[in-house]
Point group: C2
Chain length 245, copies 2
């Protein structure tokens, strides 16, 4: 394996794309994994996926950062004035606690953190599992975006620092990502794509549906468990959170 | 006044440069002010300056964001593995609680938040009080840096969004900044530059010394109060925090 002594940072959300990206990076480099809690609905479950994938890939150096201010930025669209970031109680977090807030320019927050950390720990690259196919309507999954951020990273870090932003999946389809992941032994069974918080993926939300279709196209079963039974017992048309225990 | 109906975001740390920048923006636009608590030593006092300056300039829309994960990124240089962001107790915060951590690429975190918020609230510009003269050794106060980030903002936001990054002070000297601020009625007496947490600036730390010298060069007294007496009572050579009450 090449470059085994070169350290790199991987942004590891715990989803399928970042899981494959981490496996790609770990096959060539010493990986440090960064995970952001930004107030997303399934933060607790994604954090668990992050830890389990890191364990499986032998990633020792990890940093979990609290970027929940992003929920306040997104939510602020609804209000007018004097908004403070509320204290957040992880115990009571769930569908009701955090509004469904898309934060514009979201990936810049992750990239900034990854580049800061890379400079601090002496990492030469930042790996991001961005996929252009996902970028419908949102521009920060496109190659041009990462090229522009690369320039910021070059201009905005010390002269002797050189950090390369790597997006190995950006041009791939979901089926190609799955095939590449399986070829590298990426622990896809530990990755989390479901929009619903739970121990096991629901198999019914949009994200699960897309994932299952991608595995179908890749011609291989999804190694992750699904709780179809639980979902069928619940109201299939309900948009409310379904709790799986 | 021009563009009074145009909304802009100002990054307002509470220091002298951001105070003058806010006054410049407020003289032309409707201002929304953003402030970051990133685990800096004088966070509580800077927050107070932010609120007082906003009050004085009539800035109604404010957002305070918690970016204290940046302290963990900076601090992580000292450690090896499995670092989590610790829970932070604002009551016990002080010199001892937060290490003196310069975070590389720091301004990207502020700019990302400001651009996200600008897109959410429909602001057309982001004002930043960066000063090139300050950039000794650190590259993210230079015009090239803001030009590069401008490209990221263009590529990374919606096609219909156009957010311009404005750095009105970037080529000015501190004395010129003071003169411009006084000309606009910027409430410099409320701005906070001191490295020491307290109600009144110490007048003795590096940052106070630079500020006082700039006022000397501008040929005008600093309207902010200083607690020279308190400092003389303490050990002038001490690098430890001096508590002023």
């Amino acid at each position: 394996m090449a470059h085994q002594n070169e350290k790199v940072v991987v942004l590891l959300s715990g989803g399928m794309d970042s899981c494959v990206t981490a496996a790609i990076a770990a096959s060539q480099f010493e990986v440090a994994a960064m995970h952001s809690d930004y107030g997303q609905r399934t933060a607790t479950r994604e954090r668990q996926a992050f830890e389990q994938i890191s364990d499986k890939l032998g990633i020792e150096q990890r940093l979990v950062i609290d970027q929940r201010y992003m929920a306040a930025i997104g939510g602020s669209a609804l209000t007018d004035s004097r908004i403070s970031v509320p204290d957040f109680d992880p115990e009571s977090a769930g569908f009701e606690a955090i509004p469904a807030t898309y934060v514009p320019f979201r990936n810049a927050h992750f990239l900034s953190a990854a580049i800061s950390w890379a400079e601090v720990i002496g990492a030469s690259r930042v790996f991001v599992g961005a996929v252009e196919q996902d970028s419908s309507g949102y521009p920060d999954c496109r190659p041009e975006y990462y090229q522009a951020f690369q320039t910021v990273a070059e201009v905005g870090t010390r002269p002797e620092t050189s950090i390369s932003i790597e997006t190995p999946l950006i041009r791939l389809s979901k089926a190609e990502i799955i095939r590449q992941g399986l070829g590298l032994g990426a622990p896809l069974e530990l990755s989390w794509s479901c929009y619903r918080q739970g121990e096991i993926a629901c198999g019914r939300c949009d994200s699960c549906a897309l994932r299952l279709r991608a595995f179908q196209l890749a011609g291989t079963p999804d190694p992750a468990p699904y709780s179809f039974e639980s979902v069928r017992e619940a109201d299939p048309d309900s948009k409310d959170v379904v709790s799986f225990s």
